[in-house]
């Protein structure tokens, strides 16, 4: 258990509304990630953070922003939700050990944009 909590777990929202997903970790990990998972595409990286106020874009960052004001919290915001952002969103942390970089995932947030 990597101590990752995502909220909300399920949300339905209307097109054009802003949405914020929260990821909370209890293990003081430096690196945190937001992925989305869609059929046929697997997991794709949206944004990641390598420390407080340090974030960078992933491969599918358009339409998303992130913030990390505290080590334990990483927020993902959809500025104006679109139907193409209907997806399952996973927060993750990474831990570097003797086997290199390992990622641990939260339980996911199911977002439907109608």
């Amino acid at each position: 258990d990597a101590g990752i909590t995502q909220s909300p777990r399920h949300k339905v929202t209307e097109t054009g509304t802003p949405v914020t997903l929260r990821c909370h970790q209890t293990e003081n990990h430096r690196y945190m990630y937001w992925y989305r998972q869609d059929p046929g595409h697997g997991l794709r990286l949206i944004h990641y953070s390598y420390g407080v106020k340090d974030t960078d874009k992933g491969e599918v960052s358009d339409g998303y922003s992130v913030s990390r004001s505290k080590t334990e919290d990483f927020l993902l915001t959809l500025e104006s939700a679109t139907s193409s952002q209907t997806s399952v969103y996973f927060c993750a942390i990474s831990w570097t050990g003797e086997n290199g970089n390992t990622i641990y995932f939260g339980e996911g947030s199911w977002l439907t944009v109608v």
Binding site: G40, L43, L45, Y48, G100, I103, Y104, F105, E107
Partner: protein, 109 residues
């Protein structure tokens, strides 16, 4: 374009059969990981392979990392219904982790 290609995409077999799924790329990775994901949950790490040619065994699961560190395979012996799930491979380059689209395995009793 998927950096990591997994095959097959779908696999349906009977309990007791053996199977192999593949993860291929043209890129070299510092490590490669296999995850298993069940419906409604996040992926769970099964194994990490680091050294080219490395073989790791986890009960009935055997994982191999290619000599050139570009590909990997997962072999399951005597599959059981509990092995049903989505199997994902992921390649790491520093802190950039890229995932394949997954192999969805169904093991019928």
């Amino acid at each position: 374009t998927q950096l990591l290609k997994q095959s097959p995409q779908f696999l349906s077999i009977q309990e007791g059969e053996n199977l192999t799924v593949y993860c291929n790329s043209s890129s070299v990775f510092s490590s490669l990981q296999w995850y298993r994901q069940e419906p409604g949950e996040g992926p769970v790490l099964l194994v990490t392979v680091v050294t080219g040619g490395e073989v790791k065994k986890l009960k009935r699961l055997t994982f191999q990392f290619g000599d050139a560190r570009k590909d990997s395979s997962l072999h399951i012996t005597a599959a059981q219904p509990g092995d049903t799930g989505l199997y994902l491979c992921a390649g790491a380059k520093w802190n950039d982790m890229r995932f394949g689209a997954g192999t969805r395995l169904t093991v019928k009793p």
